[in-house]
Structures are given as C-alpha cells and as structure tokens.
C-alpha cells in the first residue's frame, strides 16, 4: 500500500526500491531524534522544576495548581540562600573537602599505578589482586571500624578522617590505581629504557618521563574524585557534628529541618542548584577527560 503511494510520488525512480529506503531512512532518523528528545526532556524535567521553583516567591511555592514558571523570577532567592547563616562556611568547607583529599588520592595512587605498570617485583600479582578486590568492598565494613579508629585517635569532629586516609589511597584507591596503571601502560617502554641506560633513577623516570606524558590521566582522576568528594555525604555525616564545619551535602538539610514554619522549598531548590552548579561546570571544563577516564575504567571486564 504505502509502497505504491510512495513510488507514485516519485515516478522517476519507480524502477528501483531506493526512494522507499530513503523515506524510511529519514523517518527512522526522525524517529530516533524524537526518542532522543523525549528521553532528554524527561531527564531534564527535574532540572527545570528545581530552577523554576528556586525562582518563585514564597506565596507561589505552594500554590495549587502549581505554576510552571514564576510570574517574576526572584533571583534574590539565591542571595537569601547565600546569606543564610553558615552557608558560606559550608561552601568553603566543601571546596576544602573536595580538593585536599583529591590531591592526596592522586599522589598516592599515581605512584602505586606506576609501580604496577612498570616494575617486576616479588608479591606483585598478589598485591595487585588485593588492590582490585578492594573495589568490591561494601563501604559499611570499612565505615564502622574506621569510625572507631578515628574515635580512638580523637579525630572525630575534625577534618583529619576526611583528608588523611586519602593520602594513603583512601578507601577507593584501587579504582585510581587501575586507572593510572592502564594509562601508564600505554606509554612506550623504550622511553624509560633509554633513560635507564643514561643512568636515570626510577623516581627521576617517573618525574621526567611519565609525568609530562600523563596530564590526561591526572585530569581524569582529579575530575572524577573531585566530583565524588564534592558529593560525599555519609562520611562527613558520621564524622562531623558541628554545623559550622559541615560540607554542603550535610548542611543543606538545614532548609528542611529548620523550625521556621514558612515554606522553604524554593530556598531548598536554590541551594540544590547552587550545590550542583560547580559540578556541572567542572564537568563541562573537563568533559573530554572525564568521559575518557570512565571508559578506561570499564573497557576491560
């Protein structure tokens, strides 16, 4: 049926099936774009609702039926959130807690990755299997005893438990060790060998040959771990109990539990948007590295 209809409209090519293919091809393309747009819209809906709500006036927030976009966007909601007592503290704390452990984990795991990628030494296979096995550990088996350790050391309510362990690979070091190892393996051996013959020591090779060739690996690790630390919730939740030292993830709950009866949903949404913004920004800056790192970690089952 449709065949006739289509070919009839293209009498020139009626002898071959080509036009039909072209039509179905474009319908197919169109259909795929439609699917992509629908999925994209569905995934974007929460962003739209968060931003729209964050710009509403107090009396608009809990209106029935809900309004889709505020009559006059209230940008000052963001400055209200910014000026909530301790909010700037939380922002500063989050920046601190996203960067300091990230530097640590990169330092410790890049060295370990180098050792696994380039050295032959007794115990290598065992140590590497052990390192990979740590990736499968549920966080709770580590959380409880480490909490007791930090308690014994008098580290509770300080940033020490949230930073120091990461200078020793943290709890998720295995992932980055694997990442660095995979990357270092792609650097030609000849370079180190030439340097060895010229009498370079191993630290020297790492510093002068491996490091200058590896900014992508470091960028990848920094972005992934930076985002992970920025979003970290459970560890700071159990370690910290003074509001002034909270990161945003823990502090944001203020907007829900505060005793004030005025609706705060618009402020909560503004805070959620503010908290998400730096992550999105970092992602856009380093999208290439990020995608590449994720792919590298997963490409070999």
């Amino acid at each position: 049926m449709t065949d006739h209809a289509v070919t009839a409209r293209h009498p020139v090519a009626s002898s071959s099936a080509r036009p039909i293919h072209l039509v179905t091809h474009f319908l197919g393309r169109f259909g795929l774009h439609l699917i992509a747009i629908v999925i994209g819209a569905a995934l974007m809906m929460p962003f739209y609702w968060a931003v729209s709500s964050s710009l509403k006036q107090v009396q608009e927030v809990r209106q029935i039926p809900p309004i889709f976009w505020p009559a006059v966007p209230q940008w000052e909601n963001y400055s209200i959130v910014w000026n909530v007592r301790l909010f700037t503290n939380w922002v500063t704390n989050t920046f601190y807690l996203a960067t300091v452990p990230t530097v640590g984990i990169i330092f410790s795991t890049s060295l370990a990755g180098y050792a696994f990628a380039r050295f032959q030494f007794p115990g290598k296979a065992t140590l590497f299997s052990l390192t990979m096995a740590t990736l499968m550990l549920p966080q709770y088996v580590l959380l409880i005893p480490n909490f007791l350790l930090f308690w014994q050391l008098g580290w509770l309510n300080t940033y020490l438990p949230l930073t120091i362990p990461f200078y020793f690979g943290g709890f998720v070091g295995g992932f980055y060790i694997f990442l660095f190892r995979q990357f270092f393996l792609t650097i030609p051996h000849d370079l180190d060998e030439a340097a060895r013959i010229d009498g370079a020591t191993f630290p020297r090779i790492f510093w002068s040959i491996i490091l200058p060739l590896s900014p992508p690996a470091f960028a990848t690790a920094a972005i992934i771990e930076g985002i992970r630390q920025w979003n970290s919730f459970l560890l700071p939740l159990i370690i910290l109990n003074r509001p002034e030292s909270f990161p945003l993830s823990v502090g944001i709950r203020y907007f829900v539990v505060s005793p004030d009866t005025q609706p705060k949903d618009h402020l909560l949404m503004a805070a959620a948007v503010l908290m998400t913004l730096p992550v999105v920004l970092l992602f856009f800056l380093g999208q290439r590295y990020f995608v590449r790192g994720v792919v590298m970690s997963g490409i070999k089952g």
């Binding site: 995934l43 370990a112 709770y140 088996v141 959380l143 007791l148 690979g169 060998e193 013959i197 992602f283």
Partner: protein, 321 residues
C-alpha cells in the same frame, strides 16, 4: 620487562643488584598505598570481623558474645529479613532497568545522529547532581500536592478523559515510596557512567560484522541479538556487577528522602546498618550486619563471575591487561 631488556647491556654481575633496586623502588612507590591498605582497609576489616563476635556500645566495655550477634540477625532481629527482602526487591528492579536503560541510551547515541554530543551531555547531566541535592529535587518533584509530576498527571487525565488523574503522595505512601526511590536511582544512572562504558563497547564492535550480516539478510533485530549482545556482553557483565554492588548498598536516597519510612516501607539494609551503628551506637551488632552484607555480596559476585562463563563472550583477544 624493563629489567630483562636493560640488563642485556650490562655485565651479568649487575643483574642481581638491579633486580633488588627495582624491587626496592617498587615498594617505595607502593608505600603509601600499602600503608593505607593495612591501616584503613585490611586492619579495620579484620577488626570489624572480631567486633562482630562482641557486644560493644560506643564508649562502654567490650564483652564477648560468641555467635549471639549472628544468631540475633537471622532469628531475632525483626527488621533484618524485611530489610533484606526490600533491598533484594530494590536491586532486582533497579539493576536490570538501569543496565538495559543505559544500553538503550548508548545505542541511541551510537546511531551517528546529528547532535549526538549534545544528546550525550544532556543524558549525562543527572549523573552529576549530588545525591543529596537529587533527592531533595525529587522529593519536591514528586510532592503529592505541589509536585510537577502529579500536576502533569492531572492535566494529562483531564485532557484525555475529561477528568484529572490524581497521583499518589509518593514519599508519604507505603506502596509508592520504594518505587520513588527506584526512580531516583534510574534517573541518576540511565545516562551515567554505565551509558558511557556501553557506548565505548558499542563503538568497539567492528562495523564489518554488521555489514556482513546485512548482506546475509539479517534484520535489525537479528543483528542486535546475534552481534550486538554477544559483543557487548563483557561490558554488560562489568556494568551489572558494579550496579549490583551499588544498589545493594543504597543509603543516601533512603536516609535523606524518607528516613526509612513511611512505616518502614523504605527501610533498606544500608539504613538498617546505619541506624544500628550510628543511631544506637551498637557497634558490635552493626559489624555483624556489615559482615553479613560483605559475605553475601562476595558470594553473589562469585556466582555472577561463574555464571558469566555461560553468557559472556570474549572475542579472541587476550584479556591480560
């Protein structure tokens, strides 16, 4: 490798000392990680295993309890089995949906459409939202009275049937609260890391295979079933294992979103461990619960690895590193 090639240029006597030097430096580079492994991972794990045989409340005396904690979990703790069942249900829904969802979005991005990079970025965005922020956004989105989802439902009903559909109060409803948490997890994951990993896997399939199949008259479904799926199975396996490990441990969404309620309908296993340990400071029993999870997860992962032999297909290449 380095050693054997480099020594060729050196006198034989130097070989042993070079080997020693290499070993020495390897351990120097590994030192921070080995210290971390012992102090923050292996030591603590061992300690928590020992602790699981003790009754210990933070700040009080340790008292040996034998198998009491373990027996308590399986027979006396009224929250144990329900939380296990709920977590299994949660995992069984979230993992297949997110894995196949991610495969679907990855395949869509692999069609060579225009704007693919744009679509990829859009699909990936949810994955970037901090979990706590994501939960608050969804609480508000799924708010029974003021939420966008119920408003859209109402309007859709009104438009289609002349009578508005009234959606449930998701997080306040014992039936809907758990599905709402599943929805948050799906939103965070269908376009996330799993999708990127699938995409890389799909791009690794030689195009000639599809062309050869097409010449043999294979339709798109046949090509998917006989080429895409087998070729992507290692990636599928990797993603499934990690998704299971993640889903079984789900904590933040339940803790922030519902606190386990209403009426314990979202009291997942992770929350049970958290409450036992950091709510009641019952560290001994909390360690037992954590170890039960660890053992169950190890067995489960082991079984997955064994079972994978029958469905994961590794194309001829070596899989060494």
């Amino acid at each position: 490798m380095v050693a054997t090639t480099a020594t060729r240029a050196r006198p034989l006597a130097a070989k042993g000392s070079l080997k020693r030097e290499e070993t020495f430096w390897a351990y120097v580079f590994l030192a921070p990680w080995i210290i971390g492994l012992v102090v923050f991972i292996l030591g603590p794990m061992l300690f928590s295993l020992v602790l699981s045989f003790f009754t210990y409340t933070l700040g009080r005396e340790y008292s040996f309890a034998g198998l009491d904690n373990w027996i308590r979990a399986f027979t006396k703790d009224e929250f144990f089995w329900p939380s296990v069942a709920r977590t299994v249900l949660y995992t069984c829904v979230v993992v297949p949906l997110s894995v196949f969802g991610a495969l679907g979005t990855a395949m869509l991005l692999n069609q060579g459409l225009r704007f693919t990079t744009f679509y990829r970025t859009i699909f990936f965005m949810p994955h970037l939202v901090p979990i706590v922020a994501a939960v608050y956004i969804w609480l508000w989105l799924l708010n029974g009275q003021f939420g966008l989802v119920n408003e859209l439902l109402f309007q859709a009903g009104y438009y289609l049937t002349g009578k508005g559909w009234i959606g449930p109060n998701y997080f306040g409803d014992t039936f809907w609260a758990l599905p709402a948490l599943m929805l948050i997890a799906l939103w965070l994951q269908v376009g996330g890391n799993m999708m990127l990993i699938f995409l890389a896997g799909l791009q690794g399939i030689p195009q000639e295979m599809y062309e050869a199949a097409s010449i043999d008259g294979a339709g798109s479904w046949t090509r998917f079933w006989h080429i895409t799926l087998p070729m992507i199975s290692p990636t599928m396996f990797f993603n499934s294992v990690l998704a299971c490990i993640g889903a079984i441990q789900t904590f933040e969404a339940a803790f922030v979103g519902t606190g386990g309620g209403p009426a314990y309908s979202t009291w997942l296993y992770g929350l049970h461990i958290y409450q036992t340990t950091f709510g009641y400071f019952d560290m001994g029993y909390g360690s037992t619960l954590a170890w039960i999870l660890f053992i169950a997860l190890s067995i489960f992962t082991y079984v997955q690895f064994k079972a994978s032999k029958s469905w994961v297909f590794y194309a001829g290449e070596g899989r060494d590193d």
